[in-house]
């Protein structure tokens, strides 16, 4: 029998990565990903840019988009998709992952590329993710001879992904014919990569009582997690205590901000603007790498063939980088400062719900203070160590700023200074950690526990007379407590639920990342207006049977081995069982 492997997949907002691990001897590495870099040209890269280009028929020569595992491809993913898509934005699918977690749109319906002309055959965010997964599976098969259909796949998701977004990610994996998928939170994957790197030495670097803050700033999202170090029967234990909200803010925003700043007064087309953005990233990296440099030049190439004379010149100064990036994205703020939220109009909801406040440190302050229940009487949770992840932190100046801000907060609150854990490869750590987790699941090394990072509530409308103009408060019935482990179930104590057979029944559904004390069956007053609860996609079911009949039911929540949440209705004193589906279409 063939050796089994774990395949780690980092399905990122702007880049994907792949890794593998032999489950017999523990050997493994990151895998290279063959992809088109030009029509008919296949090269291997360590990252697959998360871009899809939906080609027009006849746009390229026959077979020019073919891949070893997909000879008849009509679309392309990766480097060529990104490069060519910059010139044809209406056929380019980007940030599919952010759409996957956007409850304001119908995520299973074809809506990407957003604002494409009618002629373009759009795809759903789920299908876009499935296409990246198919490409990565093909790459694993081609370059490592692994069979992704029979191997164990560890697919990473942001810790901030709620139950619906996780469910959709699993659906994408199913569409891509990947049956054996387990989800893993990205900040945990980053910590696994660190654990793999330091080996047994981790006991020297962390001690019981430590609280590790993982700050993961990817291309498109900022993802925060707190992981505690405890002891049980003499062994160190790691427990993921809390995760942050979904923040659509990342390194791409930084490069774009610089580009917008430098583009002022220049007449650039979309391609040139993309070239400028790329140039800004290079220049920024130069300035961050060499503290003595005062400025870095950027050339914006001409569109036409007259390169000499047609190239525009600009430069990025250290002052720009400090003011725009460090002070703009990592401002020195007080722990009590909250992210600014701009008042939104209905129209802005149509696009992606980007974070309104670029201040990552403000989001961090909000995260640490919101988790007051685990702050042990202090005014915010005190992290003792910080692990950085994401390409953004190749810039030591940005890491230093976060550490400086954390230390200032801790000093004010009589805490001990935080120390930095030296991470692994910032671009590939999540993929590496994912495959390593596959090894850990087979009983090697230390496992991070934690279970679900949210508690979930079903909305119950109280029986009260209707009053015009007054929306009755909806109560939240806790159906899944915080920290439910994979493979566990929770029975909701008997409640008076009666479902009408033969008609769809819809429940409002709420989640909380801070209410960790609620037990199954607890009732929260006025869930819809609670600051601690967030309304997520509604759940619904249609009970088969004799129409119009009322069936009394109990609710049951289960966390699957995959890592998704399932809700079921069990008939009281009867054999009936119905699954409650998350309605992944538009949130009302």
């Amino acid at each position: 029998m063939a050796t089994r492997h774990a395949i780690g997949i980092d399905l990122g907002t702007t880049n994907c990565a792949l890794s593998w691990r032999n489950l017999e001897d523990g050997s493994g590495d990151v895998g290279s990903i063959p992809q088109l870099t030009a029509p008919g040209t296949i090269e291997e890269r360590l990252l697959l840019p998360s871009f899809l280009y939906l080609a027009k028929e006849g746009e390229f020569a026959a077979g020019a988009l073919a891949l070893p595992w997909d000879k008849k491809a009509t679309y392309t993913a990766g480097e060529f998709a990104r490069a060519h898509g910059a010139k044809v934005p209406t056929r380019l699918v980007a940030s599919a992952k952010s759409w996957l977690s956007h409850a304001g749109v119908e995520r299973t319906s074809p809506l990407l590329p957003w604002q494409a002309p009618a002629e373009v055959e759009r795809i759903s965010p789920v299908e876009a993710s499935a296409r990246y997964l198919r490409h990565l599976a093909g790459a694993a098969k081609a370059s490592r001879k692994l069979d992704p259909q029979s191997e164990e796949i560890i697919l990473t998701v942001p810790a901030s992904f709620d139950a619906a977004a996780r469910e959709l990610t699993t659906q994408a994996a199913n569409h891509a014919d990947l049956p054996n998928v387990t989800l893993l939170e990205e900040p945990q994957a980053a910590l696994y990569a660190w654990l793999e790197k330091v080996g047994d030495g981790f006991r020297k670097q962390v001690k019981v009582g430590d609280v590790i803050l993982v700050v993961d700033v990817g291309g498109g999202t900022t993802d925060l997690s707190l992981i505690s170090v405890t002891e049980r029967e003499g062994d160190l234990q790691l427990t993921r205590m809390a995760v942050g909200d979904h923040i659509l803010l990342g390194g791409d925003n930084m490069d774009l901000t610089l580009a917008h700043h430098l583009a002022q007064g220049k007449n650039l087309d979309t391609w040139q603007f993309a070239a400028l953005t790329y140039g800004c990233r290079q220049a920024k990296e130069l300035l961050f790498a060499d503290a003595k440099l005062k400025k870095a030049p950027i050339s914006i190439p001409s569109r036409g063939s007259t390169l000499i004379g047609g190239t525009m010149k600009t430069e990025l100064t250290r002052e720009d980088v400090t003011r725009i990036l460090i002070d703009g994205f990592m401002p020195k703020v007080d722990i009590t400062e909250l992210p600014r939220t701009a008042r939104r109009t209905g129209l802005t909801q149509l696009g992606l719900p980007y974070a309104q406040d670029p201040g990552i440190t403000r989001h961090l302050a909000s995260f640490l203070t919101r988790q007051s229940r685990i702050a042990e009487g202090k005014s915010f949770v005190h992290p003792t160590a910080v692990l950085f992840n994401g390409g953004v932190f190749k810039a030591a100046a940005l890491k230093d700023r976060v550490v400086e801000v954390l230390k200032a907060w801790l000093a004010q609150d009589a805490g001990v200074p935080v120390k930095e854990l030296e991470g692994a490869d910032l671009d590939l750590a999540v993929a590496r950690g994912a495959a390593y987790y596959g090894w850990v699941r087979h009983g090697h090394g230390i496992r991070i526990r934690g279970g679900t990072a949210r508690s979930y509530y079903v909305g119950v409308e109280p029986a009260m007379p209707a009053v015009p103009g007054f929306e009755p408060p909806v109560k939240g019935l806790c159906v899944a407590p915080f920290g439910m482990e994979e493979g566990s179930k929770a029975e909701v104590p008997p409640q008076e639920f009666a479902l009408v057979v033969g008609e769809p029944t819809v429940f409002r559904f709420f989640a909380s990342s801070v209410r960790r004390e609620d037990r199954v069956g607890d009732m929260i007053d006025d869930a819809a207006r609670s600051e601690e609860l967030e309304e997520v996609a509604p759940i619904e079911t249609t009970l088969g049977g004799e129409a119009g009949k009322l069936v009394p039911v109990n609710l049951q929540a289960a966390v699957t081995e995959v890592g998704t949440l399932e809700l079921r209705c069990l008939e009281k004193g009867g054999p009936g069982r119905w699954k409650l589906e998350m309605n992944l279409r538009t949130k009302e």
Binding site: P34, T37, A38, P39, G40, T41, I42, E43, E44, R45, A61, A62, G63, A64, A66, P68, K87, A142, S143, K145, Q282, P297, S299, P301, R303, S305, T306, L307, I308, G309, G310, T311, M312, K313
Partner: protein, 171 residues
């Protein structure tokens, strides 16, 4: 021996993805490749990888644009701005396609001894070339060696003569 086009394509994919298969094929092809180039293949087919390299440097770093222009009428400033585009892009492409290292170890300008039986491909003697080894000299240029080659796999259906397509923007 004749290999059909489809088989060739299949083989190209397999060679890309399977190193061992590539070695087997490589042996078989060595003689065959010679025979093939003698056949009626046009020069662009025979030298497709050379054209591919040009296409890569043009795509990534606009090298052909740069070399096809007269520089005489432009200021150093303008040439410099264009050269940054060429350098940035071609440097990246070069790193992706090859691993490049000096052909010999040693600092340029430092004395160097060249032993008997030296590799005359990697080391070229200049100046007063006479006497018997070991030769005493000064390293003027350390040379370059491609220690790894990672050429892309190219679809045989494409016309290798197209270094860069014309771009027509629709509004």
């Amino acid at each position: 021996m004749a290999i059909g086009f489809l088989d060739r394509l299949k083989m190209a994919w397999r060679i890309l993805i399977d190193a061992r298969f590539a070695e087997e094929v490589d042996e078989g092809l060595k003689q065959f490749a010679l025979a093939r180039t003698k056949a009626s293949d046009p020069p662009e087919r025979v030298h497709a990888s050379g054209l591919m390299l040009l296409a890569t440097f043009q795509r990534e770093g606009r090298l052909v644009d740069f070399l096809q222009q007269e520089t005489a009428g432009f200021s150093d400033e303008e040439i410099g701005a264009a050269a940054r585009v060429v350098h940035g892009g071609c440097h990246k492409a070069l790193q992706q396609l090859f691993e490049i290292a000096p052909a010999v170890k040693g600092d340029e300008g430092a004395p160097m001894s060249v032993p008997a039986g030296f590799d005359s491909e990697r080391i070229r003697l200049t100046g007063n070339v006479s006497g018997q080894p070991p030769f005493k000299g000064v390293l003027k240029h350390h040379g370059w060696l491609a220690t790894q080659v990672r050429m892309p796999s190219i679809s045989q259906t494409l016309d290798p003569r197209v270094i860069a397509p014309a771009e027509v923007e629709l509004s």
